[in-house]
């Protein structure tokens, strides 16, 4: 299991692995936002949390297409089926690896990007907290999409279409929590806990659904 985690991390961090690309993409989205809405500092700060979340969502979807596809193409997926390790556990580890190279670095970069967007300290702190607990859900929901589109030559687009609507609750509560952190009467904790709950829910459902789809998708 640790071998699988280490291998996936190693592959992602090597050139062409996509971890750096996801981060660059995230930066590009954040930088593009002021050009779209204008350099109004107040407005940028208001939509800062939303920008960070949209960027994280899109950057997270970026690498998902390849989550099982490379293993499918080079025959590794067949070998994984023959492993004594249960397939859902393997999917969990692979999703975790995906999160470690996309969701986590994005979260770590939030202080820098938050300053770009002129966000308050509390908003930045809230963004880090919600992205930390919320981005795993993207990886775990995304794994289902990646599993059902694994044998499709251009499955990436379809994957995004399938996964994005399912990610809407995470987005709503994630951004809502950030907003609540800076708007006085609204409590931060309920939406934050809801994001956490959704992530936990999908960390169970995602691996089982993906493993089933992967097994059925073999030919």
């Amino acid at each position: 299991m640790t071998a699988l985690l280490a291998r996936d991390l190693r592959l992602a961090l090597r050139s062409g692995g996509g971890a750096a690309t996801a981060l660059l993409f995230y930066l590009a989205v954040v930088v593009a936002m002021p050009f779209a809405v204008g350099p109004n500092a107040e407005l940028l700060a208001t939509i800062g949390g939303a920008t960070l979340w949209i960027g994280a969502l899109l950057a997270g979807l970026l690498g998902l297409e390849r989550l099982f596809q490379t293993d499918h193409e080079d025959g590794s997926l067949d070998q994984m089926m023959l492993s004594p390790v249960p397939l859902p556990a393997q999917v969990f580890v692979k999703s975790l690896a995906h999160w470690l190279v996309t969701g986590l670095p994005l979260t770590v970069m939030v202080p820098v990007f938050g300053l770009f967007l002129g966000m308050q300290e509390t908003a930045i702190a809230a963004s880090i907290a919600t992205l930390l607990v919320g981005t795993p859900a993207i990886s775990f929901i995304g794994a289902v999409g990646a599993a059902v589109t694994v044998s499709l030559p251009r499955g990436g687009l379809l994957l995004s279409v399938l996964v994005l609507p399912l990610c809407i609750p995470v987005l709503i509560f994630g951004v809502g929590a950030i907003r609540a952190a800076v708007t006085e009467p609204d409590p931060f904790l309920p939406p934050f806990l809801l994001v956490t709950a959704i992530s936990l829910f999908f960390s169970v459902l995602g691996p089982f659904a993906s493993a089933y789809a992967l097994r059925q998708g073999l030919d």
Binding site: V144, L152, L158, L164, P165, I168, I172, F201, G217, D219
Partner: protein, 260 residues
């Protein structure tokens, strides 16, 4: 140690079931079509002859199309969920046909529900679209429907696309309450002008009866369309199988001598 041809019962029922289904459709369909047209005409006539509402004026009549559409939009997803369970649990040969055929119909009803809601909203809210909880969750439902249709079409092999789509249908079904809840939370946070509170038991009887008739008519309409779509899907698959068999016969001309 050669493989031999066996008309095994599993293969036979798999073939017989859709065939029997097609025969059944042929008998039932005319009655369904006639009663759908009849009930739809009655419902529409009743809907148009109700007096104007004291608040909503004549736009209240949109309700007679809008509300049944919304019911059917949800009902079609229920059909897909039972189809998905049929695929995954019982591996019934018709389950995927039922699920797959329900998707475009469900998407159409969802679209109809959204469009009529929007037309209704124009005079009510003064705008075509508001991020109201119901409208928003139905927009998400529409995207899910369309994504599923795309998935069904993208995977070539029907047996495989059936299981892939079934997984997404079920994951989506588990998600819909979460989406619904999050969207409601979202709209209360934003204090949108959610004035859409028509319906419910407070509805006056002279509005309720046409609505119920229209609901029944839409249910029949759904069954009619669904059966037709299922019939087409079965025929499409039979053509596909025949084509593959033809191709298979051509691929290995030597096979004829070696077999048996």
């Amino acid at each position: 140690m050669t493989t031999d041809a066996a008309n095994k019962p599993s293969g036979l029922t798999a073939l017989a079931n859709p065939t029997r289904f097609l025969a059944l459709v042929r008998i039932v369909l005319p009655y369904l079509v006639v009663s759908t047209v009849l009930l739809l005409s009655i419902g529409l006539w009743m809907g148009f002859s109700v007096p104007d509402d004291y608040q909503q004026g004549r736009t209240v009549r949109i309700m007679f199309v809008h509300v049944p559409s919304v019911w059917m939009a949800m009902g079609a997803y229920m059909v897909m969920v039972s189809g998905a369970l049929g695929v995954l649990v019982w591996r019934h040969p018709l389950a995927d046909v039922a699920a797959r055929s329900a998707a475009p119909i469900g998407a159409a009803f969802t679209f109809l529900g959204l469009a009529t809601g929007s037309i209704w909203g124009r005079p009510m809210w003064g705008t075509w679209w508001v991020w109201d909880a119901r409208l928003t969750s139905f927009l998400v439902l529409l995207i899910i429907y369309l994504g599923l249709i795309a998935l069904w079409n993208a995977v070539e092999e029907p047996a495989k696309s059936a299981r892939m789509a079934a997984v997404v249908v079920l994951v989506g079904a588990l998600n819909i309450p979460i989406i619904r809840f999050s969207v409601e939370w979202f709209t209360t946070l934003h204090q949108g002008p959610s004035v859409m509170r028509a319906g419910g038991p407070s509805l006056a009887p002279h509005f309720l009866y046409p609505l119920l008739v229209m609901g029944l008519a839409f249910l029949l309409l759904f069954f009619t369309l669904h059966l037709m779509a299922m019939r087409n899907e079965i025929l499409r698959r039979q053509i596909r199988t025949a084509q593959r068999k033809a191709a298979r016969g051509h691929r290995n001309p030597v096979a004829r001598e070696t077999s048996k």
